[in-house]
Symmetry: C2
Subunit: 319 residues, 2 copies
């Protein structure tokens, strides 16, 4: 396939799903063409609304994502899903029922669904996910749902970089505690108790309310994360979830928070690209041998890792 970047970008901009797929594959493969791609895309970005959706395995993230897609499609919006969750049916690990449930979107040209795999790349998910979002944004999607599993440092961080971060829980003993320990209770703008028709949904909502300190007084104008109850498999509560997301969006716009949040996200993206480039330079500069010989000394106890890191950096910045 010829690597015609301007052509690819133009076709992606026109909504060509194959061009979008090709651009995201360039991200996954950390292609050297990405510089040119991102330069071409930059003026086209900033229009999509990015929703992060995360939660422990089994809480129903993909079902909820699928229902969200339907709800936004019903309002005419073009929707993209980026699944960086290995347990997501969108990324191929689904049981049959899940696949059937989401196949409803397969023939809809206003929906684009993509899973990400970046194992092995130096910068990993933190490097790749924002660039994939950038592609989808430039391709004209109105809403981008980034689904990540709410376990794992990188994954929780990606979910926290959205315009609105939605955190899902489901009734179950200790679920709230696990969520708290995974750090996802710190990042939600909207909380969802999914599978709300099950026993324990009230207890989960109460526990969540307590852990989030939602009963406590807040400064006027502060955002108070709502708790929405859904049964995503039957699309119950999804309109309320969309309403909660839209309310958060309106609140951010009103308080100037959206611009600040997007600048913070861009800062994170730029920093990750810079750090990854520096890591590559560490590898290149010494043909990896400098690091290797330092590592042998460290492994033998002859050198501590900080002194070794100093030597590595000295070679990098003065070499």
């Amino acid at each position: 396939m010829p690597q015609d970047v301007p052509g690819l970008v133009a076709r992606a901009r026109e909504g060509g799903s194959r061009a979008v797929a090709r651009l995201i594959s360039l991200v996954e493969g950390a292609s050297p063409l990405l510089r040119e791609v991102m330069a071409a895309l930059a003026p086209l970005t900033g229009n999509a609304y990015v929703i992060g959706l995360t939660g422990s395995p089994g809480v129903g993230k993909s079902t909820c994502t699928s229902a969200l897609v339907s709800a936004y499609r019903a309002t005419g919006r073009r929707v993209a899903v980026l699944a960086v969750d290995p347990s997501s049916p969108f990324s191929g690990g689904a049981l049959l029922g899940d696949r059937v449930r989401m196949s409803e979107h397969a023939s809809d040209p206003g929906v684009y669904i993509r899973s990400m795999a970046t194992r092995g790349h130096l910068g990993g998910l933190a490097w790749a996910a924002p660039q994939a979002v950038r592609v989808l944004d430039a391709a004209g999607f109105d809403v981008i749902v980034v689904e990540t599993v709410g376990v794992g440092q990188s994954e929780v961080e990606i979910a926290s970089q959205a315009d609105t971060s939605v955190v899902l829980l489901a009734p179950g003993m200790g679920d709230g505690i696990q969520a708290a320990k995974a750090g996802i209770l710190e990042i939600g703008d909207v909380y969802v108790v999914n599978k709300a028709d099950r026993d324990g949904a009230d207890a989960t909502a109460r526990e969540l309310n307590h852990m989030l300190g939602l009963g406590e007084a807040r400064a006027p104008g502060d955002w108070r994360p709502p708790i929405v109850r859904t049964v995503a498999a039957r699309a119950q509560g999804i309109d309320e979830l969309v309403a909660a997301v839209e309310k958060h969006r309106a609140w951010m716009a009103e308080h100037g928070v959206l611009t600040a949040r997007r600048a913070r996200r861009a800062a994170h993206e730029v920093e990750t690209i810079a750090v990854t480039a520096l890591r590559e330079r560490i590898g290149d500069l010494h043909g990896d041998r400098r690091l290797e010989s330092l590592a042998v000394e460290v492994a033998a106890g002859a050198l501590d890792p900080y002194t070794a890191a100093d030597k590595l950096i000295a070679g990098l910045t003065h070499g």
Copy 2:
């Protein structure tokens, strides 16, 4: 508490669990004292055997870790557990039954159990976990079990940096596929089908055997990861698991693989410290304002993130 590094190191070396705890807290807090600590510890390291233990939530990692601790204690070895798994009972999110099960180790001075929390620190788990292992190694533990949840890029990577990586699965539909997608099937030196008394254990073992290509021919001398069946809650199969780990250890020693693997681990550790230091420098050099102003341009679509990263790096290495 006075920050007497030589005293702390000496007390940790004598097996003082409070001194060990204090040193690991310095790691968690990314203390500036760590340079001095790691310099003092370096000559004392390299004696512990590091076992990584990972698997999806619910497969019984902590129960298995606890049983491993008992088995190694029965042979007189001092054992440390580092739990970087937010769902681990060792790290505080346990149900009552789990807590009771592991309390057997609480009064044993030959066992040290510690959970890690590093949220918020720049280098994260990849930065902190190896340094905590270094502390435990220098403190004279013979065996260090690093338990991580097998979901999440950083977490799987940490488990892969062990001397022997043990990957746990449990019977359940689709579990093998999920494990494969999370990347943990690529890192195991020893595989465990836990809860092997349950229906589906044979199917899981067969599936695993197939996915790992264990039936295929290998070069003579290649390591063929064994699949061990355990019922960790009843300590069944744990002796076989220990035997499999020890067999892998002996194989590595015989083939010179252990030294190479430890050098690779040290290289990863040094690189992570260097990259984290460079990230701190990015922040310090410009008082964060350079990054912020670049990010505002990127968020507005006026600049692409690669060009912004170039400008950031230029300021770093020539500034």
